[in-house]
Symmetry: C3
Subunit: 304 residues, 3 copies
C-alpha cells in the first residue's frame, strides 16, 4: 500500500488539488507502459486540475475525486471549514504560508464554538490547513486521514492496470459542493457517448454496512439513482460471487450529484469500501473491502 500512503500524504484540499494532480500525472507517465491498454490522457488548463484517462472503446466512466476536506485560515485565529471535517480539539493540522511550514493544532472558539488554530505565530489569511497524515497499516486494515478519497483514487489507478475499455476521471471540489464533474461529464458524453458511471469513493460503516463484509453498493443516498441501472450492477456482483453489501441512506452525496443534475442522461451508482471514523485523521478501512472493491470494479468495467 505504498502508493496509497503516498496519496494520503499529499495535501489537496478542495480548490487546491494541483499537487496531487501533478503527482498523478507523473505516476501515470511512469506506470502506464506496464498497463494492458494505453490510455489517452486529457489534462491541462482546459481541465483545471482534473484528469481524464480514456481506454479503448469506453462504455462506462469511473469518477474518483482528488480533493479532501480541510480548513481555511480566516481572521485572528479563526478557521473556516473546507467540506465537513471532524472538529475534535487537539487534532494536528499542517500547511504552509509565506513564513514557512505550519504544524499546529485544532481548537475551538469559546463563544462561538467555531474552529480555531493554536500555533506559535499568526498564519497568513487564506492559508489552507489539512490533517497531519499518520498512515497506519496492519495485516487487516489501513488507517489514515483522507482514505476518503485517496482510496477511491487508488482503486481507480489499480483498475487502470488491466482496463481495456472505459474512462477514468479524477475530479475536484467534491468535498465542497462540486464544481468539475459537470463539465467533465458533458465532455465525456458528447465525445464518447458514455452515460454509465461508477463513483469510486468511500462510504460509512453503519448499522447496516459492516467492515470486512465487502464493498458497499449504494442503492441510494440523498439522491436516488435510476433503479434499473443499480439492479444490473447488483446482478453482476451476485453472479461474480464478489463479496458486497447493499447500502441504503437518506443523506450523503458524491460526485454523482453533478451527474444526476447535469444536462446528460447519466446512470450512476456509488460503489465503495466502508470506513469508520469518517472525515477524521483516523479513517479506517478493512483490507478485504478494498480487495472486493477493486474486484467488483474490474468485473463491472468488463460487463456493463
Amino acid at each position: 500500500m505504498e502508493l496509497l500512503r503516498t496519496l494520503c500524504q499529499i495535501p489537496a484540499p478542495a480548490g487546491n488539488e494541483a499537487a496531487l494532480t501533478q503527482f498523478l500525472l507523473n505516476y501515470i507517465q511512469t506506470a502506464s507502459p506496464g498497463w494492458q491498454t494505453q490510455p489517452t490522457v486529457l489534462a491541462g488548463e482546459q481541465w483545471q486540475d482534473c484528469i481524464i484517462l480514456v481506454f479503448g472503446q469506453p462504455r462506462t466512466a469511473v469518477f474518483a475525486h482528488l480533493d479532501s476536506i480541510g480548513f481555511t485560515v480566516r481572521y485572528g485565529r479563526q478557521l473556516v471549514r473546507i467540506g465537513g471535517p471532524v472538529l475534535d480539539e487537539g487534532i494536528r493540522l499542517v500547511g504552509r504560508d509565506s513564513q514557512g511550514e505550519i504544524d499546529c493544532t485544532l481548537g475551538s472558539d469559546e463563544e462561538t464554538g467555531q474552529p480555531t488554530y493554536e500555533f506559535t505565530r499568526d498564519i497568513d489569511r487564506g492559508t489552507e490547513l489539512t490533517y497531519y497524515c499518520d498512515f497506519r497499516e496492519t495485516d487487516t486494515t489501513v488507517q489514515s486521514c483522507y482514505l476518503d478519497n485517496r482510496l477511491g483514487v487508488w482503486n481507480a489507478l489499480r483498475l487502470c492496470e488491466t482496463l481495456q475499455d472505459g474512462i477514468i476521471v479524477f475530479s475536484c471540489w467534491e468535498e465542497h459542493g462540486g464544481g468539475s464533474v459537470a463539465y467533465l461529464a458533458k465532455h465525456i458524453y458528447e465525445t464518447y457517448g458514455v452515460r454509465q458511471a461508477l463513483i469510486s469513493d468511500i462510504t460509512w460503516v453503519t448499522e447496516g454496512v459492516h467492515a470486512g463484509q465487502g464493498v458497499a453498493i449504494s442503492l441510494r443516498d440523498s439522491l436516488i439513482p435510476r433503479r434499473s441501472y443499480v439492479e444490473r450492477i447488483r446482478r453482476i456482483a451476485e453472479a461474480a460471487g464478489i463479496p458486497h453489501q447493499l447500502e441504503v441512506e437518506g443523506s450523503g452525496g458524491s460526485d454523482a450529484k453533478e451527474l444526476q443534475h447535469g444536462a446528460q442522461p447519466w446512470d450512476w451508482c456509488f460503489i465503495g469500501a466502508p470506513e469508520d471514523n469518517v472525515h477524521s485523521p483516523d479513517e479506517i478501512v478493512d483490507k478485504r473491502d478494498i480487495a472486493s472493491m477493486l474486484a467488483l470494479y474490474q468485473e463491472l468495467m468488463r460487463q456493463l
Copy 2:
C-alpha cells in the same frame, strides 16, 4: 376519469418510473391515432424513463412529472423518504420484493421519530414502498394518492388530443431533487429553439387559493419566474375568461427549478389545480379546477 384512476394506481416512485413510462408508451400508441395531430415520440434508453412528444411546429413545452413520493426500505424496520411524504402512522403501504407482494403499514421509530414499516416479515433492503391507492370519485371531486402528479400527466395527455403545435414532456425524479429536466430542456432548446415552458403540476389549497375557484397560475414559489412571461399568461387567461386564481408562495418547487438553473434561457410558469391533503393518500381536487386547468392549457398552447 378512468384514465386518471389507472395512472394513480401504477407505482412510480422517483428513480423507478419505468412501469408508468411503459403504460404511457402503450397508451400513446393506442390513443394517438385519434389525436388531431400525430406527434413524434422520443423515448428509450437515451431518455432514461422520460418521454417527449413533439407536435407540429412547437413554440411552448409542457412539463409533467411522472414520479411520486414514497419510501425506501433501509435496515431493520427503517424507511427512508423518497421526496416529502406525509408520515401519519397506520397509512397503508404497498410494494414487492424477492419474497412477493407487500401490503404493510407506516409506523414511526419511538426514539428517532423516523418512519418505519409494520409487516409480518422483513422486507428486502432497498425495496420501494408507495401509498396504497384508494381512488375515490364524486360528482365534484377526485381523491387519491398521487394526484400530484398523475393529474398533471392526465392534463398533458388530454391536451394531446387537440394539440397542434407544442411539446409534451414526461419527466422523472421531480419529487426527489430532479434529474431529468436538465437534459430534456437542453435537447428541446437546441433542437426546436423552444424556450417557453408550462409546468403541468398540482399545487396547494391555501388561505389564498381555494378549491373550486379555478386553476392556479403561480406568480412565484421558492423561485421567481421572469415577470414579463407570467404577465403574458395572465392576460391570455383573463381575455379567455377561464376561471383562475393567482398564487404567491415563498416555498415549494417544481420541474421549473431545473429550467431556471439550466443553461438555456427558459421562461416558465407553474399552472395547476390546487389540492388539499398534499402528499398524503387522500389528496383531493375539485373537478372544476381540473376543467379550467385543461381549458387554460389548451388556450395557452394556441396563443403563446
Copy 3:
C-alpha cells in the same frame, strides 16, 4: 456619482429587471461612442433581461448582477421575500399595481413574525415592492439601498470606458438563487473560449475587512475558487500597488455559484468594495474602496 444615483433608483427586483435593462441599453447606446473600444452588444429575448458586451479579443469576463432584493405581495397583508432583505419595521417600500403608485411601510405579523405591509389600501397580489431609494453622498461615502449591486454595475460601466479586450455581463436573478449565468457562461465559453471570470459585486464590512482599506479580493465564501487563479490575481494587485484586502468567508455567494457548478471549466474570483448595513436601505460604501475596485478591474482586465 449621478450615474450611480440613477442606477439605485430604478426598481429591478429579481425576476423583473426589465426597467434597469432598458436603462442600460439606452445608456450604452449614448455613452459607447466615447469609449475607447466599441463593443458588440448582445441583448433581446434570447437573453431574457441580460446584456453581454464583447470588447476586442476577450480573455476574461466580468459579471455584474442587475437585480436586487425586495418583496412580493402575497395574501392579506403578507409579504414574501425576494432574496434576503433586512426586515426592520417601518422601512419605506415602494411599488406600483393596477390602482397606481404605492408608498407603504414594512411591518411584521404578530404571530408568525413574517413580513407584512402597512398601507391605506390592499395591494394587488403578486406586486413587487422595493426599498424607497434615499441616495446620500458625502465627500467620503455613498449610501443608498441597492449599492449591492448597482455599484458593481457602475464599476462595470466605468470599466467599459477604457476596456480593450474583455466581456462585460449584466446578469439577472442573482439575489434569488440565480437563473441566467448558466446560459450566459455557456455562450461565452463556447463562442469566445473565455473561462476566466471576475465577479463585480459588493461584499461585507467584517472584523477582517474594513471600510476605506481597499477593494476586497475574496479568497473564498460558501464556495472555494481554484487557488491558482486567485493567486494570480493577488500577485497582480500587489505588483500594481492597488489598495486591497483579502477576504475569507464561510458563507455568502454570488454569480460565481453558477460558474462553479456550470458545465464549463470557469476560474472565478469575487472582487468588490465592502459595504456596511448590508441588504438594508442604508447600505454604505467608502469612496476609496470604489476607486480601488475600479482601478483593480482595469489592471486585471489588462493583465489576466
